[in-house]
């Protein structure tokens, strides 16, 4: 062979990566997924983006919609189109024709899968980027969490690989919608199970789960344990599906027996690679499943952790410098910098209540935001925001209940004001008691009738809602209704007094009121 002929031969036969790139480009250009992108954009703005925009300006909370809302949006369409592309050769009955091509069916199918994945992942990551940019403009502290994007990407690859293989195994025009609907049902069923079980154990494999608390990722880092397990499981599932594609004779592979038969078609390398990929995938998925079964809630951070993967560094608090401002009378309010946007709202909530109670025994001298997990769990379950404790008294509060998923300014304000007034007039919001029927339960302390009247009077005077009466569900008795009416009347009377008169009366009578010596009739 002359040098010219050798050069021509090299030019005529492009390299394998170039060939793959050409096939991939063709698959991407001809993908039908482009038709569904406007629908995906509509879905994205309809729920994930709208929901995230309503959440508090916190990285972990807002970006939770990536997996809780956007991921389940993408899944049925990713599955449907992957099935559609996977079933193409069977649907068009071109198996025999393509059997004569130089490359193995597996190579061709992986290029088709990659073409679909390019669109699916491009759409998903574009949505994630839009969400992250919008969040970055709103938050005051922290950085974008990477794991939701990683888990979403890997799990979508797994969904596509699994659906593609189903499409290749069972080609037909009805396969795509049936697989799409089936996977949607599966995703929703697993999500429902994850929510009902608190996301522990194997339900932690569901990328779609509980909405994290406001404090997630703020006082302590979010441990990546569960994300790593999810990535392991879904990567294993993807590899298993791809390996199955290479082995199944129905999809042009060498078959199960062929995989072990050195004389079968497909080439030794293909058989070895397909078998190894399948085995590695199954092993990885089983390992992920096994690790997920050990997932539990950390008592320190409140995060999900997997003991075998847990790094104790995740249990160390993140250092921060609180941001503070002064309410009326020099009352200092300090919050975590992540909640800086809510500081002025907090100050304006504390100002009127501190004007009423400052100087009284037990009134807090400042308010400090703390990690929700450090407060009694039952207190938070009772919808309170914090406790007044220590000497001098300090109001330790959390934003966990104050900022709801759909923020409500009145609820934010009233919660803090109710906590402080109740704490000064009555004392602790409640205590744990042990009952014979149901063991330890939280018993709220709403105070005596006089205390309730004064609490509600003070709250009424500053424009806040009454303290929750703690009535049991159902129809209260006539006697109870009459007592509540008397308390309301006394509260209105007390609220109508001039602020200085109220304060003077409280200064003189607070000790008696707290001790229960003041009756409803004694309230001015």
């Amino acid at each position: 062979m002359t040098a010219t002929a050798a050069r021509d031969a090299r030019l005529a036969r492009p390299s394998v990566p170039l060939l793959v790139a050409r096939v991939l480009r063709m698959e991407i250009r001809h993908s039908a997924f482009v038709w569904v992108i406007p629908l995906m954009a509509l879905l994205f703005f309809y729920d994930p983006f709208r929901t995230a925009s309503g959440y508090a300006n916190l990285w972990t909370l807002r970006t939770s919609v990536v997996l809780n809302k956007f991921w389940p949006d993408c899944v049925p369409f990713a599955a449907g189109f992957a099935t559609w592309v996977g079933s193409r050769e069977g649907r068009r009955n071109v198996g025999d024709l393509l059997g004569t091509t130089a490359r193995a069916a597996w190579t061709r199918q992986l290029c088709s899968l990659a073409g679909t994945l390019a669109w699916v992942l491009g759409t998903f990551l574009a949505g994630v980027a839009a969400l992250y940019v919008a969040t970055a403009t709103a938050v005051t502290w922290g950085g974008p969490p990477i794991w939701p994007a990683v888990v979403g990407t890997v799990s979508l690859i797994a969904v596509c690989a699994f659906a593609f293989t189903l499409g290749a195994l069972f080609p037909g025009r009805f396969t795509a919608p049936i697989v799409a609907v089936g996977i949607l049902v599966l995703v929703l069923a697993v999500f429902s199970k994850a929510v009902s079980q608190g996301g522990v154990s194997v339900t932690s494999l569901s990328p779609d789960g509980l909405v994290p608390g406001n404090d997630a990722g703020i006082f302590y880092p979010v441990a990546p344990d569960v994300s790593i397990v999810q990535v392991m499981f879904f990567a294993g599932a993807a590899l298993g599906a791809v390996g199955l594609l290479g082995l199944s004779p129905r999809t042009g592979g060498v078959g199960w027996r062929g995989a072990l038969d050195p004389a079968s078609a497909g080439g030794t390398r293909l058989r070895i690679v397909a078998t190894a990929v399948f085995a590695a995938g199954v092993a990885l998925a089983v390992a992920g499943f096994g690790l997920a079964a050990t997932a539990r809630v950390s008592s320190v951070t409140g995060n999900l952790e997997v003991p075998a993967l847990h790094d104790s560094a995740s249990d160390k608090a993140i250092p921060y410098a609180p941001v503070c401002a002064e309410a009326s009378g020099g009352f200092q309010v300090c919050v975590h910098p992540a909640y800086k946007n809510y500081l002025s709202q907090a100050v304006s909530s504390f100002s009127p209540v501190m004007a009423e109670v400052s100087g009284l025994p037990g009134a807090p001298v400042r308010a400090v935001e703390v990690f929700a997990q450090t407060l009694p769990a039952d207190l938070l379950n009772a919808n309170a925001n914090g406790v007044v404790a220590g000497t001098p008294p300090v109001y330790k509060f959390t934003m966990a209940n104050a900022i709801t998923l759909e923020p409500n300014a009145a609820q934010f304000r009233d919660g803090f004001q109710q906590d402080i007034v109740h704490s000064v007039i009555v004392g602790p919001a409640g205590k744990m008691v042990t009952t014979q029927q149901s063991g330890p339960v939280y018993q709220p302390d709403t105070g005596t009738a006089a205390q309730q009247a004064v609490v509600n009077g003070l709250l009424k005077a500053i424009g806040s809602a009454s303290y929750p009466a703690g009535l049991s569900a159902g129809n209260p008795s006539a006697q109870l209704r009459q007592q509540q009416a008397e308390i309301a009347t006394a509260a209105t009377r007390f609220a109508a007094l001039p602020a200085t008169t109220r304060h003077a009366w409280l200064t003189a009578n607070l000790a008696g009121l707290k001790a229960g010596r003041i009756t409803l009739a004694d309230v001015p």
């Binding site: 949006d73 009805f174 929510v195």
Partner: protein, 208 residues
């Protein structure tokens, strides 16, 4: 007129109507099982979430049958094609409603709390509305991937159930007696049927 029967049968076969009926039957069995065994995702849409997805699946199957294998050449065959399209869409929608209603009737047992929360009215509303969206999508995307329309609407309605959204297209998340929901569903169905009857599904260069 004697040729009408074979013509309809050939048209239906070319659109894979027999397998579509089998798939609709499978949807009916799924609905029966969902009611009989109290399948639900819980939460706000507890009683309607699974039936809605099954109704969406039925509509997706109807949407996929709009694809014909003959492409453009079929359009030159005469004046009966629009009527054949219309009759097929109506027949399959009717069959879907009938089969799902039958499944609900078989499972019906109010003593044990087994009944379709939205009733047959809800089934009819959702099937005609979702199928209408599927027919509209077939004009844009071609019949083979027209299932994306009903599926997208099901996803939107699932979110509407969970988050309590209420928009014109979220009729499936509202009570079956809601007049606005019925108006939306019927308008979508009528628009889809009319457009599909007149224009037929889009034929893409790939033939699909």
């Amino acid at each position: 007129m004697s040729a009408a029967g074979p013509l309809i049968w050939l048209h239906f076969r070319s659109r894979r109507v027999p397998p579509a009926l089998a798939a609709l039957g499978a949807c009916a069995v799924a609905l029966w099982a969902a009611l009989e065994y109290h399948w639900s995702f819980g939460g706000a849409g507890g009683a309607t979430d699974i039936p809605m997805i099954i109704e969406g699946a039925a509509a997706a199957i109807i949407a996929v049958t709009t694809h014909g294998p003959f492409g453009e050449s079929e359009r030159a065959t005469g004046r009966w094609l629009p009527f054949l399209r219309l009759s097929m869409a109506l027949a399959l929608s009717g069959a879907a409603i009938g089969l799902l209603a039958l499944a609900a009737a078989v499972a019906y047992s109010p003593q044990t709390g087994v009944y379709l929360y939205s009733g047959v009215l809800g089934v009819a509303q959702n099937v005609v509305g979702f199928a209408g969206i599927g027919l509209i999508f077939s004009l844009v995307t071609g019949g083979m991937i027209a299932w994306t329309g009903p599926l997208g609407l099901v996803v939107i309605n699932q979110f509407a159930l969970i988050a309590n959204y209420s928009e014109p297209l979220t009729w499936a998340a509202r009570p079956a007696t809601d007049r606005g929901g019925w108006i939306s569903a019927v308008v979508v169905c009528a628009a889809g049927l009319a457009a599909f009857t007149i224009r037929g599904p889009r034929v893409r260069p790939s033939g699909e």
